[in-house]
Symmetry: C2
Subunit: 190 residues, 2 copies
Amino acid sequence: MNKSRLGPEALLFPTPAVLVGTVVDGRANFMTAAWCGIASSKPPAISVAIRGERHTLKGILAQAEFSINVPSAAMVAQVDFCGIYSGRKVDKSNLFELFEGELKHAPLVASCPVNLECRLRHTLDLGAHILVVGEVIQTHVSDTCLTDGKPDSAKIDPLVFSPGTGTYQRLGEIVGQAFSIGKKRPGGAQ
Amino acid sequence: MNKSRLGPEALLFPTPAVLVGTVVDGRANFMTAAWCGIASSKPPAISVAIRGERHTLKGILAQAEFSINVPSAAMVAQVDFCGIYSGRKVDKSNLFELFEGELKHAPLVASCPVNLECRLRHTLDLGAHILVVGEVIQTHVSDTCLTDGKPDSAKIDPLVFSPGTGTYQRLGEIVGQAFSIGKKRPGGAQ
């Protein structure tokens, strides 16, 4: 298989497109982030990479709280809007219906099927971005997105961000069950 | 919209299913990870959460190098196999055709459309997991997965891991172009 070397790049497939919620200068604000990942299971923790000059980072550092809201594909225009315009210039506080959780400064978006309330635990200065690590304090899932009490990706219909083409996509067909389809050793190197 | 509180959970949609490549005790090894995210753009950096007792962590700490390999959906059985069995018990070094990059201890899987060679920069002990942060030294993309020199998710056909249901999925339809579909302010809270 022929390969091309692209040089050092921050490249991963798939990446999510989440709304990072904060309170900045007393107002709820939401930033779109694709550079977000789970960081630990116990205590549950999540990381998100945020540019140093971002309005959202100011709020997270001031309040030591934030939210991660997982939007559905139907919210694509709102998600992109929150990625294009800074809260420094645009008031995003009335863009969504919000609901109350446990933390005071982690605004939760009702139309997002999954919402995490996070308390700031670590920041790691990596150069262009600060890696923000939060402990998940509470998890909210829309009742319509649960199957037997568990979050169901088919009902959540999450938004995927694909770098390179810069497109938002939906999830597609299921190709296997984890911890099952690979139980038998597959064939060796082809 | 009615919501259920699930308690603190490490929950995100979508998550990737990547193969973390290392050399442990002189042998190439691959671990499947869904808890992986981009950490910075300059220098490009990527994070992956790994349990403290993992064979892979031993290799990363010893060599200070690792690879992130993005598999295609066709590789689902091999990916799941690498998630089920530890390199401590199973030799995975001949499971894939490998190719040479710049680093000596970041084994690269030829059949994976995207491969990152990483140098270890930080480890963050978060409890159950260590968050490993690596700087991307070189990026390899299969020529068949490039469109106008850029990685194309339709050709890469990456594997998505969906928590909750524990299923592997493919990507689906494109629903919008980033930095475009949200240029106009969408309607307010509904």
